[in-house]
């Protein structure tokens, strides 16, 4: 983690560089003992339990990576550990609020809050439902749509995936988008759950 924190910029770049880099950073962060420890400590301090840890940690990592990918001008003013832990606090507060728990006394003066991280659009229970979509799309289509859906320009998508031109990336995106539309038509329950 030491070297990661010393080089936040290159870490953000690696997350934005495509699936290989993204996965590498996700597994590094997921297995970071210090990060896990500080998130667990926050959860316990805020009245959560050890059982909440897995959920909160996964959601915080998802929000972190999504925020990095969607906000190309993101500047992290704290060390990475503090930044991700503050996202976890934000996630836990949101969960406690949704359970109608009084949260005002939980945010102490030392709490560092980042500006709100990106919201997640897929609920946890929908993920299982959407598993068939990943099989339908295949690896390349998934990555093209994923990047497009998170604000990447066609030129960047072409560079990341290795298409020869922006035009080629555009063609691929439309092909994949068609497949996605057909999938939605065939699975009205998913369409319903997205609204």
């Amino acid at each position: 983690m030491k070297e990661i924190q010393n080089n936040v910029e290159s870490l953000l770049g690696e997350i934005r560089s495509g699936k290989t880099g993204r996965d590498k950073i996700i597994t590094q962060l997921y297995s970071d003992g210090k990060l896990r420890g500080s998130i667990l400590s926050v959860i316990l301090k805020m009245g959560g339990s050890k059982e909440d840890f897995d959920d909160i940690f996964s959601i915080a990592l998802m929000q972190f990576v999504k925020t990095v990918m969607k906000r190309k001008d993101l500047v992290i003013n704290y060390d990475l550990n503090t930044y991700i832990t503050s996202i976890a606090k934000y996630t836990l507060l949101a969960q406690l609020k949704s359970k109608n728990k009084n949260t005002t006394q939980l945010v102490d003066a030392n709490t560092v809050m980042t500006e709100n991280p990106e919201n997640l659009v897929i609920k946890k229970d929908e993920m299982t439902l959407l598993h068939s979509l990943l099989e339908t799309l295949g690896k390349n289509c998934k990555e093209v749509l994923l990047l497009w859906g998170n604000g990447y320009k066609m030129r960047d998508i072409a560079d990341i995936i290795g298409y020869k031109s922006e035009e080629m990336a555009k063609k691929k995106k439309y092909q994949c988008f068609k497949t996605l539309l057909i999938y939605l038509e065939q699975n009205p329950e998913i369409k319903k759950s997205l609204r």
């Binding site: 997921y30 003992g33 210090k34 799309l137 997205l194």
Partner: protein, 209 residues
């Protein structure tokens, strides 16, 4: 022939010229699937955005399962044959690791994925160690990632402390300081002398690594 599907983004975002827009709308009147595509555009865009979340979750789950599988296989008592296969695999892998790289990153990651580092925010509130007990010093240096010094102070602490609960906590921190330096045998020994839930879990983890 114009492939109208390629212009859905432009149509939705209002980037078409008035002629092109009219042509697109005329095409929708005769092409039901194009009309449907426009109607479902927002859902498909939202789903595309969500693909990233699904992909991250998949990566986390795959990594988690890999680490968990390793522990599960090691602790399974009912399938004796698995023990033999495992034993042979572990032996082969141990030799391989020993020869190549005993402390491979993957191996470390698998252990670190299930290990939760102890944390005490108060440990570093003070700017220096003046007036601190040996235990506080141990925790102070640990929080600063100075594990060698932390280990030294924690060893002093456990060698003099009489209170059972504090001693158990001390061994827990000592084990962590040793793990951070990848002193696996020492960490296992220290954690074995602690009854902290995390220490018990960690001993199990190391015994089966």
């Amino acid at each position: 022939m114009i492939e109208y599907y390629e212009h859905i983004d432009d149509y939705i975002d209002g980037r078409l010229s008035s002629e092109a827009r009219q042509a697109f709308e005329d095409a929708m009147k005769t092409d039901a699937s194009l009309k449907l595509a426009v109607e479902n555009y927002m859902d498909a865009a939202k789903l595309s955005e969500g693909l990233l979340e699904m992909d991250i979750m998949e990566t986390i789950n795959n990594f988690k399962n890999k680490s968990q599988e390793k522990i599960d296989y090691s602790t399974s008592k009912s399938k004796k044959w698995l023990w033999f296969v495992l034993l042979a695999t572990v032996l082969a892998l141990s030799i391989f690791w020993y020869i190549n790289d005993k402390e491979s990153t993957l191996h470390q990651n698998q252990i670190l994925a299930t290990y939760i580092r102890p944390n005490d925010d108060d440990a570093t509130k003070s700017m220096d160690t003046i007036g601190m007990t040996t235990f506080q010093k141990g925790k102070y240096f640990f929080q600063l990632n100075r594990f060698e010094e932390s280990e030294e102070w924690l060893k002093k602490f456990v060698s003099t402390e009489k209170d059972k609960n504090l001693l158990s906590e001390g061994y827990y921190w000592l084990g962590a300081a040793q793990l951070e330096q990848w002193e696996l045998d020492d960490a296992e020994k220290a954690w074995s002398q602690s009854h902290e839930a995390e220490a018990v879990k960690n001993v199990k983890l190391l015994k089966h690594q």
